[in-house]
Each structure stands twice: as C-alpha cells, then as structure tokens.
C-alpha cells in the first residue's frame, strides 16, 4: 500500500469526532457556571462600587463570591484579590513583591510558565538578581537544592504547583517550608492544579497563590491571587482602587461569580473525578507508549490526573497534531513549529532531553468530556498517524540515546 492510499484510507475510515484533549490550554465553561454568571451580565449589571441598589446588589454578589473562594482556599476574604487572568496574578505576585521591596534576589524554576519566567527575567533588567532552579528528569524541583540557593538577599521564591506541559506535581509544602525557615516569601502558580488538587493555602503553606478560571471550567478573563495578610505588594495597575488598591478597574462581576462557582464545583468533584481521570490517563499512557520509540515525559505518578505527555521519535509534533485534527482530536505539542517564538518546549529540554524529544512531544490533557471510548480511539489513530508519518520521514533516531539526553545532531 502506498503512503497516499494509506492516508486516504485513514482519513476516510472514521466519521469526524469531537475529542477535545487540550484541557490544560483551556476548558469549556460548565453550564452551571454559566448559569450562575448569567444574571450579572444584563440584569444585575451594576458597578459594585456604587451606593445605589443595583450597585449594592452587584457588590454583595462580589463579596459573596470572594467569601466562597476564601473558604475553599482556607483564608480570610480580604486575602483574595480578583484579577483578569492567571498571567496577571503571576505578574502581580512577582512584580508586586519585588517592587515593594525595591531590590533583592528572586528564585524560580526552569519549567515555569512564561507568565512567571518572563516576569522574573524582566525584573533582572530592573536590577534584581535571579536564580533559575533546574529540575530532575521527571520535572521535580529538589527542596534541598532550593535551600542551597536561598541567600540573605532573597526576597521571593516562585515555583509552580503542577506543570502545564508534563503534568509533574511539585512538593509545594516542602518547598514552602524551606522558604519559611529562611524567612523568604513563597508564591506558587496553581493554575493547572486548581481543578484537581487540594488548594488550602494553610495546608500548602504558601504566601501567594495564583489561580484562574479558564482551566477549571470557569470563564476566561478572570483570575485570582491569594495574598497572605501582611504581605506588601506594589500594584501593577493603578486607578480606582478596587481590590484593596491592588487591582484597579471595575470588577468583572459575572466572571468572578462564574470563577467562584467553577472553583467550588471543581474542588467538590475532584476526589471522584480524579479517580476516573487517572484511570483514563494511565490507559492512554499505556496505549501510546506501546508505539515503538515512544516514551512518557514527566513523572509516572506525581502527575496531574489529566495529563499525558509523550515523545514520539522520528516524527514532528505539528504533523501529528494536524492529522489528529483532521480526525477531530484536538491536542498540543512542544514542537518549535507551533510555538510563537519558534523555540522548542523549554520544559521538555529542562528535563534533560534534547531538542529532538521536544519536536516529537505530544500533550493530551483529559477532561470532564473524555470517555473510555475516546481514549481507545486516540490510541488507535495515533498509531496509524505515526506509522504514516514515519514512512514520510528520513529519520531513524536512537530512543535510548535521546532518553539519556544525547541528541544525535546538536541544535546549531
């Protein structure tokens, strides 16, 4: 059979599905969330700062949402600041602490989201000093190594709760404890964790914590930052003084109410839903890694319940994604070809893997809509797509060599 006829056969063999497996990018809004937010678009549209009835009603709804979020976080309501996104919360936490202190040393890790990494790198230009911690081959940050890197000038440590690309869950409590022993503030970006992992800030021991709506079946355009009482932050947005002066701008009332509802639902359903997701996740990992020269990225167990990230050698991620797209499967890749910067995934390379491994990496992130049948289908067609693309490819890389971190040809 020729490659062309095999492609035709594959594309015609199935009715186009709708299998969304990019929940780490964003989630659909839960209908219950939409229902909760709906009245605040047109009916209860008042400005929460106003003194008349419709303003007061919006204000009460806002405070109610704040109280509900603080209950889940295990903090007091005035420690919750609503923002416009997870990125904004990260920026407020990092720039806020740094600029309030004026100078000092900041520690972060090599696998952070760009919302943290680029913010920290920007502060380097403003005269702050920065240490970027490496991770081990699973993506784990070592608390002992963090301890060694903390200096007397260190003002802030920002380390993510769970990684968005490879799903590794960091030992947040231990990392926070290390910081507190040395009197350093600890921020965590918990955007990927908010939907599935415990987020009680007291139990985690964090001083600042970022969440957002669009990863937890809530609305886009809303995030939140937990700021432990007593921590001084310099705002990054100035104006009407909303959110205790930390985030000026009329509050996104429907978004915030939707966010509170989404967080409640996610946390309530997590114990049961996680069991279901982990079963599906492990089935998908098992099925995909049966493909020759395909291996798992990230930690096998300390891993988000919905994250599958594999590298498939000799084929390029974008090609796989576009074939899967044609069959109605939506996933993402760490290949350079799909990144805006044209750089391959900084997370995959931080695991000690060469560029070749990043170019062939595929991430499937499962969600509420994912079924057992979906997983079977994805395994079946990914096998076929890889078989076709390998016949088009001139490569034959050595998997052991790649997994031990040696690329056959180095990036120029």
């Amino acid at each position: 059979m020729s490659v062309n006829s095999d492609i035709n056969k594959l594309l015609k063999a199935y009715k186009k599905r709708h299998i969304y497996l990019d929940h780490a990018a964003t989630t659909p809004v839960d209908p219950a969330v939409k229902k909760a937010a709906d009245p605040y678009f047109t009916e209860e549209f008042g400005n929460p700062s106003a003194f008349y009835e419709i303003g007061l009603k919006a204000g009460e709804a806002l405070q109610d949402a704040r109280a509900r979020v603080s209950k889940i976080l295990g903090c007091s309501a005035n420690e919750v600041v609503f923002t416009g996104s997870g990125t904004e919360s990260d920026n407020l936490a990092i720039l806020g602490v740094a600029r309030a202190k004026g100078r000092g040393h900041i520690i972060t890790s090599a696998i952070e989201h760009h919302a943290v990494l680029d913010t920290v790198k920007h502060l380097e230009k403003e005269g702050f000093t920065v240490t970027i911690l490496p991770v081990d081959k699973y993506g784990l940050i070592d608390p002992a190594q963090l301890s060694k890197e903390i200096k007397t000038e260190t003002i802030l440590v920002s380390l993510m709760y769970a990684n968005n690309e490879v799903g590794t869950i960091e030992p947040i409590k231990e990392l926070a404890d290390v910081c507190h022993k040395k009197g350093v503030l600890f921020h965590t970006d918990a955007c990927q964790a908010g939907g599935t992992l415990p987020i009680n800030v007291k139990k985690l021991g964090v001083d600042l914590l970022t969440l957002n709506g669009s990863k937890i079946y809530g609305p886009k355009g809303v995030g939140c930052l937990y700021v432990k009482s007593g921590i001084k932050l310099e705002p990054i947005i100035y104006g009407g003084g909303q959110e205790r002066g930390l985030r000026s701008g009329t509050e996104n009332v429907p978004g915030i109410i939707g966010f509170a509802k989404a967080l409640e639902l996610a946390q309530k359903n997590a114990p049961e839903e996680n069991k279901r997701l982990i079963k599906l996740r492990d089935k998908l990992i098992k099925g995909l890694t049966k493909i020759p020269k395909c291996f798992l990225n990230g930690h096998p167990v300390k891993r988000l319940p919905n994250n599958v990230n594999v590298t498939i050698l000799d084929v390029e991620g974008e090609s796989i994604i576009l074939f899967l797209n044609e069959l109605g499967i939506y996933a993402s890749t760490g290949s350079a070809c799909t990144s805006k910067s044209l750089d391959p995934s900084h997370v995959i390379t931080a695991l000690g893997l060469p560029y070749e491994a990043a170019h062939g990496s595929i991430r499937f992130t499962l969600g509420h809509s994912t079924t057992d049948k979906d997983v079977d289908f994805v395994i079946e067609v990914t096998n076929k797509v890889v078989e076709i693309l390998r016949r088009i490819s001139p490569l034959n890389l050595n998997s052991d060599e790649i997994q031990s971190g040696r690329g056959s040809i180095h990036y120029k």
């Binding site: 490659v3 709708h18 209908p31 576009l322 990036y411």
Partner: protein
C-alpha cells in the same frame, strides 16, 4: 457530571473548512507527491544525486534523490523524504512537482530555484512558518551538485556565494539569512544565535543591516 458538547454535523463540517494553512499546503500534506513509498525497496543506485539538509534537532530534515535526463540536461525524476511540520512536508512535495512537471526542469533553472518560488506555488505560508519552506531549494542544489560531482562535471558545481561578514567568527551573509528565517528579528536575537560583531561595532552594524535586508526580503 461530564459536560457533553453536542456538535451537529453542520458544525463539524464547518470546522472542516478551518485550517491553519492554504488549501494547497493541505492538499500536499495529505497527498504528498513523489514520495519514496517504501525506503526498504527503494533503489538509490538508480538515482544520480542525493541531497540532505536540516537536522532532527532543528525540527526539519529532508532527503531527496534526483534522476537526471542527461541528454536534455533536465531533472527527470525526484523522490524525497521529510521530517518536519506540515509546511516542510508540503513544500518538499510542491518542490518535487515543480522540478518534474512539463518534462522536467532544466538544471540551470533548478539551480536558480528560490524558496519564494515554492512559497508562491503553495499560496503562501504564515510569516513564522516561512522558515519551514527554505530547505527544499538547498537540498535540490546539494543533490544536483552531488550529480555533478559523481559525473565529474566539476566545473558545474555551484559553491554558493558566501561573503564573510565577521572575520573573527567567520559568520557569512548566508548564516545571517538563515538566522532571520529562524526568527531573529532584532540584533540581540541575531547575536544570541550567531555571536556576530560582539567586539566590533562596524561588523555589528553591517550584520544588522543585512538582517534588515533579509527581513525585508522574506517578511515585508
């Protein structure tokens, strides 16, 4: 509890029409032309020249084989294999069509083929994907040079006109062109990639001017 997103057929078929690239790219990606169908059965010795460019680390690599119509000095056949994204696969496929159609391209014309010629036939690519289409013409020139070498037509071998820009690091205009195609759009990014003009302001200015020239050429 699971949220089911119900999509009707109309929605699905509407989605079918949304694709990130041109229909020509899509067509070549899903129907690659002149591909080596089975490398195990492929008889390399029937071909007159081989060209390989790119690397797996860069995310694009291409190998192509040419057969020459020696009497008419034309390309009679071209077969290829590509590792890369849709743009890379489609542009190799398009290149193979361009040089073999209408009785085969004259070698002198094939040597002059530019990435822009392939791009035009593909109906364009998004700006940041243009670098994925620049390997084909280079692989073709390498394969033709390989043919010249094997057939002892040494005088015809084309050594591309490199101009050394930085005498310290031997960076050429070609290197700068490739860096621009790989995304360098500021002198800082260019220097990060190439270490050009680090100790010499004049060289740095020259490199920056060249970078702007290539940016104009590819992205204007």
């Amino acid at each position: 509890m699971p949220i089911k997103i119900v999509k009707n057929d109309a929605d699905v078929s509407a989605n079918n029409n949304r694709w990130v690239y041109s229909s020509s790219v899509k067509s070549h990606f899903f129907h690659p032309q002149n591909l080596v169908e089975d490398i195990k059965k492929f008889d390399e010795s029937k071909y007159d020249g081989i060209g390989v460019v790119g690397s797996p680390a860069c995310g694009d690599m291409m190998k192509l084989w040419v057969k020459i119509d020696k009497k008419n000095d034309r390309i009679r056949d071209l077969k290829w294999q590509t590792f890369g994204c849709a743009s890379a696969i489609a542009s190799t496929s398009m290149l193979s069509v361009m040089v073999t159609e209408k009785g085969g391209m004259k070698i002198e014309n094939a040597l002059k083929l530019k990435p822009q010629d392939i791009l035009a036939r593909l109906g364009g690519l998004p700006p940041r994907k243009i670098h994925c289409s620049v390997l084909g013409d280079k692989a073709l020139r390498k394969a033709i040079n390989d043919y010249f070498r094997k057939s002892e037509q040494y005088k015809r071998i084309v050594t591309e006109g490199f101009v050394v820009i930085d005498p310290d690091t031997k960076i050429t205009d070609k290197d700068i062109e490739e860096a621009v195609l790989e995304g360098a759009d500021t002198i800082e990014k260019l220097q990060r990639k190439l270490k050009v003009g680090i100790n010499d302001k004049k060289v740095k200015a020259k490199a920056e001017a060249l970078m702007k020239k290539f940016m104009e050429k590819y992205y204007a």
